[in-house]
Symmetry: C2
Subunit: 276 residues, 2 copies
């Protein structure tokens, strides 16, 4: 299924959508694309849209000026936190739609007046809505990926990842397919959604006013609007080996060990999130 199309045609073209100005609450992102894009859209094109402009269009501004309060409001739980040399605190949290990120995506950069921008309420819904409107406008099937910039454990720097997706496959399940030696690809599930977001970032870049790129050449990933969204990328708790930071888990274990040594004390609470 992944080898469809001739090899010669198998190339990728990623180009920016230029001329998108400042986005305001109430703006129609698909309409902004239509007004700005000066070249034809083709079946299978995938629009990679920076979450920040979706947040702006949806008016996702925190009603307050305190960044920590905004993070508290967005976070379902804290996975790890660390005090930085300068005194600030880095908090890795999981938000209501399962995304694990630093500071729950609360952002002041590229935001007028330093207002606190939150992530879109439901990025998969946003992506499907934009994809549906684009399909109506252009009369061809296109996909939408909403991207955000995420850090990672063990690796420095950030990469753009898919936090919303509409009409595009985000996980390409190769399990059961055979590799070139005829061996089954047992565990390979490329997260093409994240790879598409990453490719888009190489064109959009960070410090310029280009919040949207078009990726052409993987139309095989574009399908019905009810394909699973980026929420399907969220790892379920029973497969999560890093549900807590090392220090946080150690401290929880230490307290439990102390309590276990004193049978008269109350038993320590167990943590159902920890994988076995």
């Amino acid at each position: 299924m992944s080898t469809s199309g001739s090899d010669a045609a198998r190339q990728l073209h990623v180009f920016p959508v230029l001329g998108i100005g400042e986005v305001e609450a109430g703006d129609d992102v698909a309409g902004l694309i239509h007004a700005a894009l000066d070249r034809p859209v083709m079946r299978g094109d995938i629009f990679v849209i920076t979450s920040k402009i979706v947040s702006k269009a949806e008016g996702r501004v925190f009603a307050g000026a305190d960044r920590e309060q905004a993070i508290d409001a967005e976070a379902m739980r804290t996975i790890a936190s660390r005090q930085n040399p300068g005194g600030s605190v880095t908090r890795i949290v999981q938000n209501r739609f399962g995304l694990v990120s630093a500071a729950a995506g609360v952002d002041t950069s590229n935001s007028p007046g330093g207002r606190l921008l939150l992530l879109p309420e439901d990025p998969d819904r946003s992506a499907r809505d934009i994809a549906a409107t684009l399909r109506t406008i252009y009369r061809v099937d296109v996909g939408v990926v909403i991207s955000d910039t995420l850090g990672r454990p063990w690796r420095e720097g950030q990469t753009d990842c898919a936090i919303g997706a509409g009409g595009v496959r985000v996980l390409e399940d190769l399990r059961g397919d055979l590799d070139t030696e005829g061996t089954e690809m047992a565990v390979t599930v490329p997260c093409v959604g994240d790879e598409i977001a990453a490719a888009g970032d190489l064109v959009k870049r960070k410090t310029t006013r280009v919040p949207i790129a078009v990726l052409r050449g993987r139309g095989d990933l574009v399908g019905p609007l009810d394909l699973p969204g980026a929420s399907s990328i969220v790892r379920p708790p029973d497969r999560d080996m890093f549900s807590l930071g090392a220090r946080e888990a150690y401290e929880e274990g230490f307290a439990a060990g102390l309590a276990a040594a004193d049978p008269a004390a109350d038993p320590p609470p167990s943590d159902p999130r920890r994988s076995s």
Copy 2:
């Protein structure tokens, strides 16, 4: 520094190098590219090369048939492990050049006769060697990224990342640059090396015999051969909040808590890897 070049020219083109056959120990990867590639190479082109063929060219075959033994030989330490429902064990380990991955990259897929392939000995050195030879052949400055497929905490599926780099910037430091609102981009360091590897994977794919792609359009990232390699992406221990899996850290803490409750016992060993 990141806004050089006209917007109109700012697009990305990624195409496969077709016709690379089975790679044997002793093969010269740059020579294979030169023999296979049927279009001109341009200044700033970045070659994304699947680590597997570099391993094959370098004869990195484990002298044995036991996969666990091969992982033991490659791993410097185990970060987390988990028994899967089928009885197999997933081990997240850190290898000698700092890469954190499942099974230390030991691989049997796409390997003739199911031999155990190890990662290249020093992927940055391999990438620089290949880049140097390509620069001699084509008389233009090109970059090389050696990619491997890595899983991630909290997110399902895998993405291709840079495990080796030669003559190409892998971390684009935007700290100090101003965003479109004039706010300093305080913590943004896009890992363009990993994003380049991801874009390459969208063209190479997994089940086809296309181990190399060329990425054109980010020549601004190509520079001297002595630029920091992919080893610079490895996060140093003092910035690592996930130096152990949640279960492993909890168990270590539990043992320490038990021991601390009994002052007569030996003090528990402290873990210098854990971030404060």
